[in-house]
């Protein structure tokens, strides 16, 4: 029997999943839109991973004995899967990337709603920064602008590369960028120039905001949804003056990282219920249950904490968001 580990990264836009074997190779991978429903998206992802693992020649030999979750819905899906590791996405990305690219010095990441930079030295993350409140220059910003221009965000990169003189677009703030964009469209700039300008703006906004004051040393790895956009990659290479590496598995790095962390933690032990009850991940058990989340506003003190409760078949299995003892929810685990 070979043990394998599951890693799921549930982001605001997309849900990613991998299965790794004990030698830390990815043996199954999946990528789907979250579409505002993290539980369903992660079920679909797990279903697809299951199918991929089952299709392997030595499928009977493989047993998934542990799982990790990361991303914005990590707690919910973690509770659902009975995951042994629930980690934030920054750590997961750092772990995943440094183990695939041991020599990496800088990791740039632009996702759906946030962007981050991680500086690595000798395989250890030594510094990182995340965007402040504003969503300017992230994936969701790009797709809303693509919508405005009437193009698919997937085509963005290729169109951008055809531009010879990119327009100058101010992208420090979403709202200013939008009004600037409208203005440029009305003045009659060519579409490819505007798109290339947007890509440049995303890169320079990132470097001026998230990357400010950080030493960006080569080799540089660029990942996250926006890394699929060749225009932004090109803009980064131009502004940094170094090659920017985009891993084809770059979008899976969070899932891979958390799977590695799950592998480090070892097999799930002593699970009495949930998918790991038998010691081996049981997909059917996951589907059998009905998961629900409910937001409760605790009225026991003036804080009015919003407590999120996760129910499995009507039983509360986890809750969070509570700030004091008064609102503590008893789990029926």
């Amino acid at each position: 029997m070979r043990s394998a580990y599951l890693g799921i990264d549930i982001g605001s836009i997309s849900t990613k999943g991998v299965v790794i074997d004990q030698d830390r190779n990815i043996i199954a991978r999946s990528y789907l839109w979250t579409e505002g429903n993290p539980t369903e998206a992660s079920k679909s992802v797990v279903r697809e991973l299951e199918a991929q693992v089952a299709a392997l020649s030595d499928a009977d030999e493989i047993a998934i004995v542990g799982a990790g979750t990361t991303g914005s819905a990590r707690r919910l899906v973690g509770a659902m899967l009975g995951a042994s590791v629930i980690k934030n996405e920054i750590t997961a990305h750092a772990v995943g990337t440094t183990s695939l690219h041991p020599d990496v010095r800088t990791i740039l990441e632009i996702g759906g709603q946030d962007s981050k930079i991680i500086c690595v030295s000798d395989g250890i993350a030594v510094d990182y920064a995340m965007n402040t409140l504003c969503a300017a220059g992230t994936g969701s910003f790009l797709s809303s602008q693509a919508h405005r221009l009437g193009v698919e965000v997937e085509e963005f990169g290729d169109i951008a590369l055809t531009s010879t003189k990119p327009a100058n677009i101010a992208a420090r703030c979403t709202v200013f960028a939008e009004s600037d964009l409208v203005h440029k469209i009305q003045v009659g700039y060519a579409r490819e120039d505007i798109i290339a300008g947007l890509c440049n703006a995303v890169a320079s906004n990132y470097l001026n905001n998230v990357g400010k004051g950080k030493k960006i040393a080569s080799p540089v790895v660029f990942q996250g949804g926006v890394s699929k956009n060749a225009g932004v990659v090109h803009a980064f290479e131009e502004q940094l003056g170094v090659d920017v590496l985009v891993d084809p598995d770059g979008h899976l790095m969070g899932a891979y990282g958390v799977a590695l962390l799950a592998a480090d933690a070892g097999p799930v032990k002593e699970a009495t219920a949930g998918p790991f009850a038998s010691g081996k991940f049981d997909f059917e058990a996951l589907l059998d249950f009905d998961f629900k989340t409910r937001e409760i506003e605790c009225g026991k003190c003036a804080n009015h904490c919003e407590i999120i409760c996760v129910y499995r078949d009507g039983d509360i299995i986890d809750s969070w968001g509570n700030r004091c003892d008064r609102g503590a929810v008893k789990t029926t685990k």
Binding site: I90, V126, D127, C134, T174, V175, A302, N303
Partner: protein, 399 residues
Amino acid sequence: MAKPQSMIEQVRSSVAVELDRKRKPTLRPDKKAEKKAKHRAKHHRPMKAAFFRYCYYDPAFKFFVEQVLDVDYLPLPEATRQTTEVGVQNSSDYVCTPYKHILGDFVEALDLGADMVIQFGGPCRLGYYGELQESALRDMGYEFDMLNFAHGIEKGYLGWAKEVLSKVNPDIDIPHGVVKLKGTAKMMELLDEARDYFLAYGGFERKRGSFDKAWDGYMNELRCATDERDINQAYKHVMESFRAIEIDKPERPIRIGVVGEMFTAIDERSNLGLDHKLMSLGVEVHRMLNFTNRYLHYNEPNLRVGAKDYITYDMGPTSTLTIAAAKQYAQAGFDGIIHAKSAGCTPEIDCIPVLQKISEDYAIPILYLTYDSQTSDTGLDTRLEAFYDMLAMKKEKLS
């Protein structure tokens, strides 16, 4: 956080057309109100005075109001989201966040029946808080007095004493007041001292909540204190109960130093429970910044000498403290530094280029946190967790 377009437009340009003058162009309350206040101070002194909520200094404020000013103190309940919302609604959009919090507190205090609110004066924008808040509150229709220590600040203690005598209570026994003022300072100092211990050990308690329980007891005991002896007793008790708590502290725990702006870096409501979040991750927290070190024993030139490789002049209200503390933490081999400030805090923003150099020179990671009234709790959790993970992994690999 993207704001709706219309709102930003309003901030970016707004027009006021009020052609008939409805009031005099002055922030000062009109002469009549001033006279009335003076009259009231002389004959019927104000019944209840309230402070804004500030960190854990509430017992000291209570002591000050009751023992020094000799009027009733109105304690405020825990802040709610409502408090902040009221403050935000009635402030200009890009004024610093503490202003909004404090305004919300004052509204709440006045709703609860306070007839005097107390505001500090101080450097930077803080010195102007009081006047603007007073006018904003009057515009909202409240009638009250404000004891604003920005008045009389140029004359120091004498100016303030005059302000207090004329506005609050002309019958204050001055020698008695001075003694009690010393008591207030003592209480501040002992609060900070106990807090330092709390921050350093609170993250390692075996039984969750033991430190919090001891702390709450301390606060309650201090609220009942009437003289310096009571204060010393309370301190003795809390330190005893702190030491009695069973802890499980690793030999080399993760140590993080917190630096930043006077309000946000300390006040747990503004920084969304930074102290507790760090402690629950199992961190030994140090924070040189507190009332004692900034006001009672602040020797700026002396402190600046310690950081003279980085700065020549005083850079702002707490800047020297921020930089000197960061450098000390770096030299002492701390694992990381957290810099917390409210959005738009100019002096602390100006510290960042210096902190970046310290981070570079000592290879110590610094997490920069900017808070505004919309900062999300989960976003903060993610950042802190990731910071902790990074420091922990680094420590593990390097040792």
